[in-house]
Symmetry: C2
Subunit: 388 residues, 2 copies
Amino acid sequence: MRKVAVAGVGMTKFGPTDKSLVELFSEAAWEAINDSNIKPADIQALFIGNCLGDFAEGQANIAGFIACELGLSHGTPATRFEGACATASVAVRDAFMWVASGFYDTVLVGGVEKIMHMGTPLATRTFAMATDSRYEEFCGLTFPAVFGMMAHMYSVKYRIPLPALKERMALVAVKNHQNGINNPLAQFRKEITVDTVLNSLMVCDPLQLFDCCPFSDGAAALILTTEEKAKKMVKKPVYILGTGQGSAGSLSRQKDFTVMKSRVASAQQAYAMAGLGPQDIDVCELHDCFTIAEIVASECLGFFKFGTGSQALETGETKIGGRIPINPSGGLKAKGHPIGATGAAQVYEIVKQLRGECGQRQVEGAKTGMTDTLGGDAGTIVNIILRR
Amino acid sequence: MRKVAVAGVGMTKFGPTDKSLVELFSEAAWEAINDSNIKPADIQALFIGNCLGDFAEGQANIAGFIACELGLSHGTPATRFEGACATASVAVRDAFMWVASGFYDTVLVGGVEKIMHMGTPLATRTFAMATDSRYEEFCGLTFPAVFGMMAHMYSVKYRIPLPALKERMALVAVKNHQNGINNPLAQFRKEITVDTVLNSLMVCDPLQLFDCCPFSDGAAALILTTEEKAKKMVKKPVYILGTGQGSAGSLSRQKDFTVMKSRVASAQQAYAMAGLGPQDIDVCELHDCFTIAEIVASECLGFFKFGTGSQALETGETKIGGRIPINPSGGLKAKGHPIGATGAAQVYEIVKQLRGECGQRQVEGAKTGMTDTLGGDAGTIVNIILRR
């Protein structure tokens, strides 16, 4: 397998937009194309992550329309992927293989989502389709409920009283909002406090409004190419060293949702391919769709022992400057979560961090980074490890 | 790149079902697993084509649920693909690469769709999402209209009076229904005549009811593996020699819809990879979603010169026993068209033909076969060439 480089990245500002999905993705794509100094004609294939385009805009089969919008030839394969919130990461991992295998030299990959015009009730309803429609969704199980249950389970399992756990969960939101202030593309750029979280609207016990990431519109795109070509294209290529992907059934088929086996398996695959371990990761963008989700993810990835991830919020180990900075971009919580774009946006941030282009949110000296994206209630999980 | 074999195939009967999408796919998957003499634990990754599961059943993120249903481990990547009616073929081409690259040895790939419970008006509406939502769909353009326009354009361009063209189009339906009689998994198994077609309900001028394929439920699945493993598993492995995939924008961006550039490019890719040409194909399953579509496809694939495909219906060249038998399975017209499954079902038929297991619909001595799957109004096209 050949070494695969990320030669260019692009990302729109996250938040409401009047653009169509095709236009929104194209904005990110052109930035990635220009960032990598290629011409559109150099793109041999297109890999598009999009989760809800059919519900949001009546647009299925979107990949070909994007290829056309970018002026790519009729011979350019354009493929859409969907894996709930892990949608774009699935696309990135797949695009990686087409270059690693030697079949294509240069490809465009990314994701796009537009959901804010739906309004919260309908958006919550459509997102719930990523749970099992036979056993969960029809009961009214939405994702705030899934992660609310997770917080209760975590509290009981590790004997952390819920009020104490909630304060630590709030620190996830406080940290990620603090990081988001320094990300010009973030949806929210304002400081919050633990009190902000604990005094906010109750969404689904114990999750309050500021425990939850927002609905977002946005897109992110990457140019993947060979090591040889990347070195000619750009000064600072970043390499994909390892990828992993796991899967799971409904919650009723998972033994312990606070220790997601699909995520542990996925991370192990990525570490094994990279020849690295959690101790080698300098910066991580992980799936903080809810505050409890960041804590659980940080344990599954091996940064903390199971049951100890919440303490790390108090010691500041996951802050920029800490032992393992998590979500310097602001994460899903502050940067925003356009679900089909999130995985590519995570890679965007890691690439920018490894290039040293992140200004006030820069993790100094970061050489190795990791992404983690969760689809549904662990149905799809992808991890990607990158190094400069 | 390694040679990739199809070691096992499975397919449900096409037509209405009470099963869920996950259950329906599993039925095809177990048949493919048993047909290839592997154990589920041998499956290293899952590639699922599904187009409208979210609309039909409220089920997005379906791939993980299928992996769980089949008892696959949490470390098994499970990916959903969507490219309108070419959905499953996109999945097959992608799965092919993961094995050809050397990354995986044995994978499960296929597609599933369930649409009949929606009823025709809503199904037609949801299918229309595969046209461009910005320029076509909102005008009320449905697929009978797209292919109705195609028939008119074809008639004018090649100066074939519409009544004469309609008689030849009717012969497509007559041939494919004749073939379907001998396919126990086909949705329709009854003989029709040219009069049946020409006296049927007008759907969208000049297309009448029997010019149109039906709405269908169904699933098909394949086990792909290496040449070495396939030879140990089964007596008659069939090999994927070439694949191609093309893309296009809305109809307004396509110069001439009767000569689909995305299809021509895709077929050329497949022929080039296989080192073959149209003259080497012994049997073809192509995308006869409407009778005119079969004629246009047969020209784009190079079996007939542009403008001469309809005459071939009169000479019988595309019948079983003719020069290039097309759609011996009954095609989308008689076998049925569960859109997210169709591409895998086409490969199923070619594999069965190349193994010589097709009974009364067998194309005698077939060594090399080809599939052709069209998504939307040419937005996604995939071709696959197989040989025993």
